[in-house]
């Protein structure tokens, strides 16, 4: 695979904490690649019929949802690991923790941790900076 290349655009923005205008960077987002385009690209690159890719992708995501939402972590080689995490307010005692769990539950979310292989690819990405 070719080395990636991203553009970081710098724009003047007001920084609230010291009330000054500074150039702040943000990665330029190109188009969002749709589900259909991803399938078409994968099918063309690998020489696999689109129907097979769609079928496998649907089955893969269903399986990933099922496992992640049942407390397993799912590791996809060269991509990363998906896992579920919760944020609950701490409690002084075990009894208090159980009794107030529903009120103290703040957030349940799916997290993604990139694999070392992907991190190595990210580190090799060429970064271009643009002002304006």
């Amino acid at each position: 695979m070719e080395k990636g290349q991203i553009n970081i655009g710098y724009k003047k923005r007001r920084i609230a904490y010291n009330d000054t205008e500074m150039l702040v960077g943000q990665s330029n987002r190109y188009s969002t690649i749709s589900y259909e385009s991803t399938i078409a690209y994968a099918a063309q690159a690998a020489g696999i019929p689109e129907s097979s890719i769609i079928l496998s992708m649907e089955a893969l995501f269903d399986a990933m949802n099922y496992f992640v939402l049942n407390g397993h972590s799912v590791k996809i080689p060269n991509l990363g690991t998906f896992y579920l995490s919760v944020r609950v307010k701490s409690a002084a005692t075990k009894e208090e923790f159980i009794a107030n769990f529903e009120q103290n539950l703040r957030h349940v979310s799916i997290c993604f941790l990139p694999s070392p292989e992907l991190k190595a690819k990210i580190a090799k990405t060429t970064i271009n900076t643009v002002v304006g």
Binding site: L23, Y30, T38, I53
Partner: protein, 126 residues
């Protein structure tokens, strides 16, 4: 509908400087690619070789687009995109790629997954 267990364990919390009960999702075994492929093959009747080839193709497509600054929408699963953190500067002449402190890939779950998370059954254990 999914079901998870949250386990409360006593841990020192620095800001209170005391031991308090903190909740963590109880993790079961990590599902590796082989486990996932066998599960899919069994439940969908797709040959394992085809699933492996398709998974590889999808993975390569995601990596290619994301590392070139695109966001990739994976339908009912979520969106992948690149995230960066960089230092702010006052002068345009100071702008250079070395200001980028951190570059990573972020994942935003789809609305469908968020709904599934809301209806999760959570058991508490201490």
């Amino acid at each position: 509908m999914g079901q998870i267990k949250v386990k409360g364990t006593m841990q020192r919390v620095a800001m209170f400087d005391e031991n308090r009960v903190i909740g963590h999702v109880m993790r079961y075994s990590p599902m590796k690619e082989n486990d996932l492929v066998s599960y899919i093959a069994q439940s969908s009747q797709i040959p394992e070789s085809k699933i492996i080839a398709c998974t590889l193709a999808i993975r390569e497509a995601i990596t290619f687009f994301v590392l070139n600054g695109h966001h990739v929408d994976l339908g009912k699963f979520g969106i992948f995109g690149i995230r960066s953190k960089q230092k702010a500067v006052t002068d345009a002449e100071q702008v250079n790629p070395n200001l980028v402190k951190h570059l990573t890939i972020g994942f935003k779950p789809s609305a469908e997954i968020k709904r599934a998370i809301e209806s999760l059954r959570i058991e508490v254990e201490v």
